[in-house]
Symmetry: C2
């Protein structure tokens, strides 16, 4: 099927939008009227640019408040339509979107609506244009797609069909299966958008909070199956009104949108002979996390790791990279970062995959950007892709002993000292704070590229404002994303990354590292007073938690989380240690305010 995107989904002037759509492989665009109105190019010039980019204009939109009105107003509306049809002729656009009337001047009269739409379709036919009639969820009298279809059917003109918009259908509480009752050739256009379930009026919701399919809570997949079953063979087009997309790089948004369509199409039966990306191979945890630091800050990172019981296990044969290890938890410390920044950041994540080559092939098919790597002679050949926030993702098989086994690039440093071991066994999760505007893209990226699933979507109350979060998981790989709920305040938001390690006995761990002189993040006594009021843990347990600075949470099913933190290392990073009991799957969102306050105090 053809893939389109509405220009209103992208930021910037029209030409930049068109270039972005073409660059990521869209076949066509919906041209939003305001984008043309604000464009200094004539319609003919726009048509030429569209053609030169290999695109088509699949829809001109929207034409509003047309049907079911008194005769004199209808005359004026027809005059208005004629002007738009002339412009469409100059653009070479052959389908016009007519939204159901929202004006108080519209009357509730389906026969009148049908008759006036028939007149419009007849007028449009003279210009070689088809009219797609769409039920807006807030249409004055027509808000349901089957109602729109009945009117179209009643009009009985070959140039009149319906437009199906997933947002309007899926937010109206009507079953999308009715789409199958519409002949596919009378569906003239299909617009796809998703949205998070938000408790607000549908118009406000639609205008500000749409997102690409897979980024929200609507069942766009199911709707698409009904659309396919109807026999519809026209474009699938992304029409997304989103306050954030309106102000970020249109190329980035276009790529995000195309990735969303590619992932959505996986849910459909493939056309005969169509090539598909391989499914995401099973993951088996993190091979390592790589911390980049400048030489000045590297001492702090080494002390923090040693303080948690890690030992330096090996050195890279050719690069300034050291492997710190404890159990199956591995951290690479790369001191290659620009000197003088005193910045420590999580530069890369490596996931253990059953098939590194298939993982890489899938990533490429899902439009991940690959980073060029030069492997020295005999060194591991790994694919490195860039996540939306710039973090590198490696695909590897540590134990394989083949070219994807990175560990062979390292020279063991010395016999491993088991004494230092404090009982950490693996990486439990990594936390990536995202710059504003990349959050939805990142979540979709990890779901579609790595095959992770969303586990929870908590709201975090940080010291300097609320944050949105999403935890994604699959095969012992857990990635926690978060971003400011509202950005742009004068106080800088703190973008912290973290690596959390798993232990089976956090009390023993905390005692061991304290005995070795490690300073963990101090937690206020008031927190434990409140904990005692909230949970009936017993005063001994509370005293132990308080003594060791361990935080606690319990879920509805009795699953428990015990966790503790290090202070911030080099401005950008901290470490966490977690112990899970029962089936607690979250990350302790309730305790985030305490952590952020304590980290600020330091």
């Amino acid at each position: 099927m053809r893939r389109s995107i509405a220009t209103v989904s992208l930021a910037g002037p029209l030409e930049e939008k068109l270039r972005a759509a073409a660059a990521v492989g869209f076949d066509g665009v919906e041209l939003f009227e305001d984008d043309l109105v604000c464009c200094p190019r004539s319609p003919e010039e726009v048509a030429a640019i569209v053609r030169d980019l290999g695109l088509t204009i699949d829809l001109y939109q929207p034409f509003r408040d047309y049907e079911a009105v008194a005769p004199d107003l209808h005359e004026r509306n027809l005059r208005r339509a004629r002007r738009k049809l002339e412009v469409m002729g100059r653009l070479g656009a052959s389908t016009m979107l007519v939204c159901s009337n929202v004006s108080p001047s519209a009357v509730e009269d389906d026969a009148l609506a049908a008759e006036q739409l028939r007149v419009l379709a007849e007028l449009a036919a003279g210009y070689g244009v088809r009219v797609a009639y769409e039920a807006l969820a807030w249409g004055r009298h027509v808000a349901d797609y089957l109602h729109a279809w009945r009117i179209v059917e009643g009009a009985g003109h070959p140039n009149l069909g319906v437009c199906i918009d997933s947002f309007h259908v899926l937010t109206q509480g009507v079953d999308a299966i009715g789409i199958e009752s519409i002949p596919g050739d009378r569906i003239f256009f299909v617009q796809l958008a998703d949205a998070p379930r938000l408790p607000m009026h549908v118009l406000h919701w639609s205008r500000h909070h749409r997102c690409f399919p897979g980024q929200g809570d609507l069942d766009v997949q199911r709707l698409l199956r009904h659309v396919t079953a109807s026999g519809y063979a026209g474009p699938l087009s992304l029409e997304v009104f989103n306050d954030v997309f309106r102000q970020i790089d249109p190329l980035r948004t276009a790529r995000d949108g195309m990735r969303s369509l590619l992932a959505l199409e996986e849910s459909r039966r493939p056309a005969a002979g169509a090539r598909r990306p391989p499914p995401p191979p099973a993951l088996n945890g993190f091979a390592f996390a790589e911390v980049a630091t400048d030489p000045e800050a590297s001492g702090g990172v080494a002390r923090a790791l040693a303080g948690l019981g890690f030992v330096p296990a090996a050195r890279h044969r050719t690069k300034p990279v050291r492997l710190w290890q404890q159990g199956q938890a591995r951290v690479l410390v790369n001191t290659n970062a620009a000197a003088g920044t005193n910045r420590v950041r999580l530069a890369a994540l490596a996931v253990e995959t059953g098939d590194p080559l298939a993982s890489a092939e899938r990533a490429r098919a899902m439009l991940a950007t690959e980073r060029p790597r030069s492997a020295g002679p005999g060194e591991a050949v790994m694919t490195e892709i860039a996540a939306p926030d710039g973090t590198s993702i490696f695909f590897c098989r540590t134990a394989a002993g083949d070219a994807t086994s990175w560990i062979g690039d390292f020279e063991p440093e010395r016999t491993r000292s088991e004494e230092a071991d404090a009982g950490l066994c693996r990486i439990d999760h990594v936390g990536l704070s995202h710059p504003f505007g990349t959050f939805e893209e990142a979540a979709l990226f990890y779901r579609s590229v790595l095959g992770l699933q969303t586990v929870e979507l908590p709201e975090l109350a940080g010291l300097n404002g609320l944050r949105r979060a999403e935890t994604l998981a699959g095969g012992e790989v857990r990635i926690a994303l978060d971003t400011a709920l509202v950005a742009g305040g004068p106080l800088p938001s703190v973008e912290l990354q973290h690596v959390a390690f798993r232990t089976s006995d956090i009390f023993a761990f905390a005692r061991a590292v304290r005995a070795a002189g490690t300073q963990l993040l101090p937690i206020p006594a008031n927190y434990y007073d409140d904990l005692e009021a909230r949970f009936e843990l017993g005063s001994e347990t509370i005293a132990s938690l308080a003594d060791l600075g361990i935080l606690y949470d319990r879920d509805d099913r009795g699953g428990e989380l015990f966790h503790l933190y290090t202070p911030i290392v080099g401005r950008g990073l901290f470490f966490e240690v977690v112990q899970r009991a029962g089936r607690y799957s979250g990350l302790g969102a309730r305790n985030v305010p305490v952590r952020t306050a304590a980290q600020r105090e330091r």
Copy 2:
């Protein structure tokens, strides 16, 4: 009455919040539980800080999900309450807020609720604590303040009263007059918050979008009259959950909140002997707008003004400031800005007031920051205050010939050349784009300090995202504020300021300046195609508008706006010329996308 603010209304760690509240003159605070939980100080230390700052803790909040539950859960809730009462004793807080139960474990049984609240009140009495019971708008069984009062009345314990929260009362569709039926001494606490009318669920609305009284759409004034009539004599406290306030400078938010209370109190009958700020004197338009520019960019400003028919009329006797004039429109160009910035900005606005001294006194009373000025011998003595975005506001009487008449500081430059006059008669409005997070504060500032009224609140669709806007007006002073709806995207938002001049014949104006070689902002032909489709203006009018680059809008009552723009001058400023016909009071929000696109093209 005592003035309080909830710590949850302010950003940052608890101590910073307390300092901010004290600095702007609050008498007390509501202590939000999470603020204490996250604080490394013991309750006794917090109590000492509060005392040293001259504050009191007027409320400890919130205690949740207590009443109307099964006996075993009630026992556990009482245990929880006891822990909190102990903490309150250590804090020296004597009123506890109990919110109506939202948990599914609550049953609909007013008698049970009353009995359990009575038990809590009796327990609290032992700690010298009073319990204020509040109906949350989303309470499971108790959502209405009169329902809460009936339960409190039923409990019949002297240590149990109600808490009135303006948000919960005013969003529930019940009449606030019922507050007068509650004896004032049984109202233990009053929380004030406003909110814009937003089409969303009340919980989401309350948690994210509250604002200070006067900044939203709720009739907090009327509620306060009912509270006063009840005989309530406790604190008025600002409890505002606002996503933006949570991440901006708490001192700024505290001052904004105090200004809101001061303005709100003006609506009440003053206590005997209470001193009040003088009412805002009548304004009579702008005396001048002052543009600051570095020497490099000053040539561009001079060319832009000359291009609009302004002539240099006078020079300041001691400062590098030149007065440009046309009719009663006056622009000061101050070339004192730091060199090399190539930055042009609107540095000051001067308003004509009937009583400059009273205007200044009112500004001070409304917590405006005064800027020190040194007047040379014989120079005008004017008060200069700083608006929230840093723009200076001067109060003056140009024609008075006294010390407030700034014009005497200027030396007429030469006989005014009337030939250059292009028919501009006065400043119509000024437009100030605000950095994110200062918008509500600025709107309240102009309303309370200058006495302006809100005229319109349009949403603007700029090229790089949506913007919120508010136009304020009074006595021919019009100020248009706008800010990004969502900030923080990777594309920088364009913060432009502008000065708009009024003419009675924009066609003659445009022809005259074009004949003189002035380049106005070019408007796309597509705009006029669309204009012709939307309005039946006649092809001659459309042709004239298109020929001269004049934009057009019409309101529902037939009022018309004709306007045109200059290109951007020195990166931060542009000029506009407007002609109004009929009673068009807006600023042409519909045309903003066209302007922003055209300014980007240049």
